[in-house]
Assembly symmetry: C2
């Protein structure tokens, strides 16, 4: 499979030009706190997160009415038990954060997470395979996860780790996500060399052709949030949700 099997060089060039033209026209879209909270996956993925931190995360998610809590696999069932009688969903991560484990492990992780109560799955693509032009591999892996997700009525977000990709690779990856049946394309893990930026969200939005976009990594203020939403992000992943809602500047890198 060549990338030109699913996106033409002309289309890539067009997306790049359109994103460039749009970039300076982005005006923050202001939402009220309730609307904004509904766009936020309240996130705690640090490996040293303790049970008390997970409890706090869930309490905050209930208080501020975030869309979901996003946690590592080992905490999914625990969060589900706390949140099952509320509107807050549980989101978990798959192949996280390197994406370099095997497809059957990603599938098993997804099955476990669904069984434990997750309604959204944020999986990391195989970045090395994408960069080695092994598009069939990347496509088949996303497709397997997308089919599983559809079967169990959960949403699949695909993390392409924009900071490690060229602009062309970002467009190709987003287009692959669309073709493979994902629900969202997501910018970043928060564990690599950089997070979300507005230009990447524009590229992804144009290339993913109707999929939702989740911006994550480095979103720390209400103004950040409003700018990403204006660029087309329908969901934000951040560990600074409470500070964002309260309109304080946060310090975390995620």
């Amino acid at each position: 499979m060549k990338y030109t099997d699913f996106i033409s060089d002309e289309k890539i060039k067009q997306i790049f030009e359109e994103a460039n033209q749009t970039l300076n026209q982005i005006k923050p879209i202001e939402l009220n706190n309730e609307e904004l909270a509904k766009r936020i996956d309240h996130t705690l993925l640090k490996p040293d997160a303790k049970l008390v931190d997970i409890n706090n995360l869930c309490s905050e998610a209930i208080e501020f009415r975030f869309y979901s809590v996003c946690v590592n696999p080992v905490y999914v069932s625990y969060c589900f038990d706390i949140l099952k009688s509320t509107d807050v969903k549980v989101c978990s991560v798959i192949g996280f954060p390197l994406g370099a484990n095997k497809t059957d492990i990603k599938i098993k992780e997804a099955e476990n997470a669904i069984q434990d109560g997750a309604e959204e799955l944020d999986m990391v693509i195989n970045i090395g395979k994408l960069k080695s032009s092994e598009f069939e591999y990347v496509f088949e892996e996303i497709k397997s996860l997308a089919e599983l997700s559809k079967k169990f009525l959960v949403k699949l977000k695909v993390i392409i780790e924009t900071c490690l990709l060229t602009d062309q690779e970002k467009i190709i990856a987003s287009s692959l996500c669309k073709k493979a049946g994902a629900d969202f394309v997501k910018t970043s893990t928060g564990f690599s060399t950089g997070g979300a930026n507005i230009f990447d969200v524009l590229l992804m939005k144009l290339a993913a052709d109707g999929l939702e976009i989740k911006a994550s990594g480095g979103i720390k203020s209400k103004l950040d949030a409003f700018r990403f939403i204006a660029a087309g992000a329908t969901r934000l992943g951040t560990s600074s949700g409470v500070k964002i809602i309260k309109d304080e500047l946060a310090n975390s890198s995620y």
Copy 2:
């Protein structure tokens, strides 16, 4: 299970004091290049590693006669095919780098890696559970992996991610590794806030009571290597193996 079920407060204090006394007496142990190379796991775990990078890694490992190549799960069988007629082993990582996925996933990853040709497994403990004093969980997880490893005659290295632990937690974790039947205790993933240091290796060596020690993260020069070996490390994980052997200073953080 309390930590005092497997290590006394007095023993912890004694280890801490002995490590402090030894720290200033460490004199680098100089090995020749052949001996040094046999202590090195030649490592490439970056998520954007391409096939060409993996090929180079294997070629270098053959040329310089490193003990192993250490790669992400998706590349184990590929490396095994290249290296099976040489002395260079394949090492892979389990639950890497966060350690926050479920035990059954770690077991399945280990089974896959062994089937694909890995002879050494570097697993990450559940750091959050350790820090939440859920020692039974951490112990049982390591024990499951240790039993699997013994059954298939592979070596289990347990990464405790020292940079996220207190000194007491480092001692407790190393002691747990011994009790659970691991072969090695390893300092770091190279993907967190810090790498190996001499004092940690001393603590681990004393607490792990006979297990081997792998120092990893930030080992960049021959002098670094000789100092860690003097402190008790029997294996070094580094992406700078070639530069270390050639005695050039490397730039990588792993």
